[in-house]
Amino acid sequence: MKKFLALALSIGLGVMIIVALNANELFPSMGEVDITDRISNSFLNRSVLGRAQDVIFGETEVTEGGPANMITAIVADYRSFDTLGEITVLFVSSLGVALLLGATKQKRLDFNFKPNFMLKVGSRALFAIILMTGIYVTIHGHLTPGGGFPGGAMIASSILLLYLADDTFRAKVKGFKILESVAGSLYVVIGLIGLITADYFLVNFINNGIVGTLFSAGIIPIVYVLIGLKVGSEISGVIDNFLTEEETV
C-alpha cells in the first residue's frame, strides 16, 4: 500500500511537471532556445559591462571575462562571489564529517587481505599519473574543460588510490588542513586586494592578456588553482576520515 502511494505520488508529480512545462510559453522545447534573448548572450559576447567586442582565439586582448572557457569566466569571474560561498559549503560539510567521524587517536581500517608488492608499486606509479592529470586540469581550467573542482577531485582520487592499495599508508592530515586553510584565506585576500586597489570585491585587477594563452585571464588561473588545492585537500580529508577508525585500547 505504501509503495503504491509512493508510486502514485511520483508519477503524479512527474506528469504535473511535464504538463506545467508544456503549457508554459516561456519554456521552449529542447534545442529551440533562442540564446540572444537570454542573459547568457552577453556572457558569450563579453558585453556585460556594455563594451561588446569580437573575440578571436589567440589574437584579441579581451577587456572583460578573460578566459577562453566561458564557463570558467562565469564561475570564477562574473559569479566569483558565488563560488566563494560554494567552497564555504564544501568546507562546512568536510568540517561536519570530521566532527562526526574524527577522533583524537585514529588508526587505519584493516584489510581482509595483505596487499602484495606489485599492487603497492603499481599503485604508486598510477598515483603519479593521476596526480599529474589533476594538476594539469587545474592549471588549464581557463583554457580547456575542467578547472579547480574536477582537478581537485582528481587529486583526491589519487590519494584514495594510495589508501585502497596500501594498508599501512596514512596521509598527513595536518598538512591537508594547513593547505586548505591557506588556500581559502588566500582566495579572500585576493578578493580584498581587488576591493582596496580597484572597484569591488574579487574584481579581476590583473591585465587579462591575449585570450587562449596560458598566462592570461588575470587572477582567474590563480583563483582556480587555489580552489583546486582547497577542494583536493578537503576531499582527501573526508576520505581519510572515512577510512580511519577510533583506536580501541
Binding site: G14, G31, V33, I35, F43, G96, V97, L101, L143
Partner: protein
C-alpha cells in the same frame, strides 16, 4: 526527449527515497534525483547544433555556442551534492556503529 528522461530519473529517485528503508539506498536515491535534476538543467541550455562554449584554435568564427550559464550552475550543484553525500554517509557510518544495522525499521528495537 532528454528532458522527459531527466524528469523520469528525478521521479525514480523520489520513489526510491519514499520506499527504501536502508540508509545507504536512500542516499543513492538522493544522488539519482540530483543527477536527473542536473541533466534537466543542462538540457534547458541546449541549442541545436551548438558547440561547447570554449574558444579553441579550431573554433570556426560565427559558430553557435550552447548556453554556458546552466553549466556553471550545475558545476555548483555537483560540488554541493558531493558535500551532502559525504555528510549523509558519515551519519550512516555513525548510526551503523551504534545500532549495528543500516535498516531504519530495525533500529529502535534494542
Amino acid at each position: 526527449m532528454l528532458q522527459y528522461a531527466a524528469i523520469f530519473m528525478m521521479m525514480l529517485g523520489l520513489y526510491g527515497i519514499l520506499t527504501n528503508r536502508n540508509i545507504i539506498k536512500i542516499i543513492i536515491s538522493l544522488n539519482i534525483l540530483e543527477i536527473g535534476l542536473n541533466i534537466f538543467i543542462i538540457s534547458v541550455g541546449y541549442v541545436k547544433d551548438g558547440i561547447a562554449p570554449i574558444l579553441t584554435s579550431a573554433t570556426p568564427s560565427g559558430s553557435i555556442f550552447v548556453d554556458p550559464l546552466p553549466q556553471a550552475l550545475v558545476l555548483t550543484a555537483i560540488v554541493i551534492g558531493v558535500g551532502t553525500t559525504a555528510l549523509g554517509l558519515s551519519l550512516a557510518k555513525k548510526m551503523f556503529q551504534k545500532y549495528g544495522t543500516y535498516n531504519l525499521d530495525e533500529m529502535g528495537e534494542q
